[in-house]
Symmetry: C2
Subunit: 520 residues, 2 copies
């Protein structure tokens, strides 16, 4: 038996598939960015909330334990049997920060202020097939207001998002928050189905019998979901006005010659959609006027336009200009999930992709108003609105703009020439730290001095301190400027290199002053 144990293969030292480790600057730079964002959230009256990573599958909701293992999309496991009771609960890792907020808002509804403004930052887990750049654990950074039906809450979130992006380092002009309203689109869908008129024509332009129109209306009302229309609207950028018209009615041949079936609307129903799609004007006032025309007599549409108008006015009052946040009807992505205002923040500068081509950086945050958050638990509708910042994408953007990095300089490395004088080397490091300078003593085997300098290089050390027996007796230390040294090694001739101008001898009591001088 003991033999068998010994024969067991060694465990593999591997991060599980789809997971990753963050080292050094990866950790500090993300932290630095999130700290900046949290500062803005806090100043806007938002309170931090940190829920546990684990929730009951029941509370998470989307994933019910009606199969053997409810792990479609989440990491889930069943608790051990309750002694004397039934089977244990199914538990799971949270897949976002909104589901736990819903649980908290219901569980603590009598204790929390209402409205409840909260922000949350932390990892979430998705049980998905990992791929390049797709991880099964990643960070989210959310801010939500629960319990306010006022669009003032939406406007505040947009203004706060602008402030957060700027405080994180994105310059004004390098981002744009686009705002739309699901209600406007509902209004458009409403006016797409007007009372039948005498002038109705079919898809081929021929006049149709009133009875047929009525029948068609029934059919379209039943069979055409707003999702079908949304899908076409989403293609506007690609296929243009005429393409959208074809796709909404009888269909369209794409570039490859393949025929894409139409949604089946009548020509007269398409006009409001096109009016909506082309409603973006030179400024908010013009866009709002165009939208008002597009929604026509729809009450819900008019309400949506009113809300956008209020949001625009509030943003202006809060000092957020149209160069930062603007009404834009083209924002439709994920709209189906939302019930009112929606918004998306894009970074407008260009970066080079992995193939060296210029491309727009694109979306880094999005959000909007949603219902049914707490309703699942309590049966009462609780209006809510919120935003989620894509942590990895925003960090990548800041790095692409050179706004991150460099902050994490390596420590000054005190080398060890004489093992017996370790305490003295540690005293040097302690003195440097007391002066606020990051410093460490080399703690590997000191025999090979070359290894010590290689170590200093790997640590990205700006300075190395050297004191052998001779220097100790003379009361001096050698201070080696490694950054200058590397430059000289790369550029200088052998003779210049030998002159070693990057290394200075100073009296022991001037160690800190000399290091400070080199670090600038």
């Amino acid at each position: 038996m003991a033999k068998d144990l010994k024969k067991q293969p060694r465990p593999k030292a591997e991060t599980p598939k789809g997971f990753r480790d963050y080292f050094g600057a990866d950790v500090t730079e993300r932290k630095q960015m999130l700290d900046r964002i949290a500062e803005i959230y806090h100043r806007h009256g938002f309170e931090p909330l940190e829920t546990s990573a684990v929730e009951t599958v029941e509370a998470l909701g989307k994933f019910l334990p009606d199969v053997d293992r409810p792990n479609a999309g989440v990491f889930a496991w069943q608790e051990a049997e309750v002694p004397g009771g039934g089977p244990g609960d199914w538990l799971a890792l949270r897949y976002d920060l909104t589901a736990p907020l819903a649980r908290v808002a219901a569980q603590f509804r009598n204790d929390l202020p209402s409205p409840y403004r909260r922000y949350a930052m932390g990892p979430v887990w998705r049980n998905e097939k990992p791929g390049p750049g797709r991880f099964r654990q990643f960070y989210q950074c959310d801010a939500d207001t629960v319990g306010s039906a006022s669009v003032a809450a939406d406007a505040e979130i947009c203004a706060m998002l602008a402030a957060a992006l700027e405080h994180a380092g994105i310059r004004r002009g390098d981002y744009l928050i686009r705002i739309n309203n699901r209600k406007v689109l509902n209004g458009i869908l409403e006016v797409m189905l007007p009372e039948p008129s005498d002038q109705a024509v079919d898809a081929r332009g021929q006049e149709i019998d009133k009875a047929i129109i009525k029948a068609l209306r029934v059919v379209t009302e039943r069979a055409i979901s707003s999702d079908d229309v949304l899908r076409v609207i989403d293609k506007f950028d690609k296929v243009g006005e005429e393409g959208v018209r074809q796709l909404l009615t009888t269909g369209r041949k794409d570039e490859s010659g393949a025929f894409i079936e139409g949604v089946g609307l009548l020509q007269e129903q398409v006009a409001p959609v096109l009016a909506f799609l082309t409603s973006k004007g030179a400024d908010n006032t013009q866009t709002l006027a165009n939208l008002r025309a597009a929604v026509g007599t729809s009450a819900i549409g008019a309400e949506g336009v009113d809300e956008l108008e209020q949001i625009a006015a509030m943003l202006a009052a809060m000092g957020v200009g149209e160069d930062c946040a603007v009404i834009d009807p083209s924002i439709v992505r994920g709209l189906g999930y939302y019930t009112g205002p929606v918004f998306e923040a894009e970074l407008t500068f260009e970066i080079l992709d992995e193939k060296g081509r210029k491309r727009q950086f694109g979306s880094v945050a999005g959000g909007g108003r949603y219902d049914g958050l707490v309703e699942r638990f309590t049966g009462q509708k609780v209006p809510a609105t919120g935003v989620s910042i894509g942590v990895d994408r925003l960090l990548a953007a800041l790095r692409a703009k050179g706004l991150m990095g460099g902050s994490d300089q390596g420590p000054v490395v005190v080398t060890v020439m004489d093992r017996d004088r370790m305490a003295e080397y540690q005293a040097m490091a302690a003195e440097l730290r007391a002066a606020g300078i990051r410093a460490e003593v080399y703690l590997g085997n000191p025999k090979n001095f070359g290894n010590q300098l290689k170590y200093a290089d790997k640590r990205n050390a700006p300075v190395a301190i050297i004191q052998g027996t001779d220097e100790a007796q003379r009361g001096v230390v050698q201070v080696k400027d490694l950054i200058l040294g590397a430059r000289i090694a790369a550029e200088a001739s052998h003779e210049e290199w030998k002159a070693q101008p990057a290394q200075t001898e100073v009296p022991r009591d001037q160690l800190v002053a000399e290091v400070r001088r080199i670090l600038g």
Copy 2:
């Protein structure tokens, strides 16, 4: 079917058993404390490492998948079957921060600097029965040096721990780091089994035959583990010198009269243990001399004492006095796990427990040197040393000393008297924020003004801003000092209260200045 779905009971809004949520100051105060500690770790050349929460059960090691579900102590689950392959991996949530460090040190051994100094802060998970104050997710905060056999690494960790505690807010004199060495104890165990002499006596003081002594030696060497001895040593505080002597030899009657069996050592074997236990002197020099005497001729014991002597010298060189860190042979807890120096930080001030009784706060951090960290993966021994700070305990200590809290003041609340002028209220909040003041607009239903003040109270707001139509027309705002107001309400007469000195009317453009005056 649809009916069945509707009839489903609502999910319970509950944190899973043994888990908890952290709100507001709970989050910010812990963060503030960890930030202070991280600053010190960073200055000592330690690099942050953030591993994923999920590890393979194989890499975690302690929990092998030889049963149906290897969830003894950990939260574990099996991945879905690999298509065309065998069963999926068992994954688990990390139960500490050391096991992931071992995996990382092995996985990235060619890329990481050696020695590798790293710190890690984050939640860990234990699948244990929850109890009062015992949670299944909690924070750990570790710093370790991997790959250095030098006691300079241990000394550095102790000095860094002192600096971290002080930077977190614990004053010098309020903590003490006690340092011991497992090798000294090994030396003691060695000298407990000396070459048999002619003078050996048995437990009753009678002379024993040499052959019997030899036989006994074999028996004791086999049957008496160092753990047995350690367990007795751990009772020294309680039972004293004579009690330890009895427990190590023939046994002892405790206070209740019950007989506790002895470990079975001979009288002559007990002396080194007692010498060890009473070796703490007035200062390190004396303690070290006593220890040297106690370990006698044991080579490993002498090595242990030498190491402690070096550590003491290095701490002195780094400016860490004996009032901060001291050699103390009484630190034995968990010693079995360690292979060299061990240390424990205690807070020495008294606090009142839940029953109002004074008690010492006790241990907040501990650590030491250990082997076999990377060996499991690579077969190569890698020496390591590290410390773990008890995050919850240290935070509780800082709160008990009044060193936390108060930092999280509520926002200034701008009330809403006139729903149509929401944009103006938002402009006020924006102005306050631009001046660095935390501020928010009331976003609930503004109909009932009393509710708005109740909300401000719940938000811990220091100031409320009020502007009705009348004030707006006159270009003024009311600024209500809620802290002063609460004091007046508690202390003043009805007449004084009616005079409302806590509320001031100021011109609109002096809003920020007035709020600033009140906040001081």
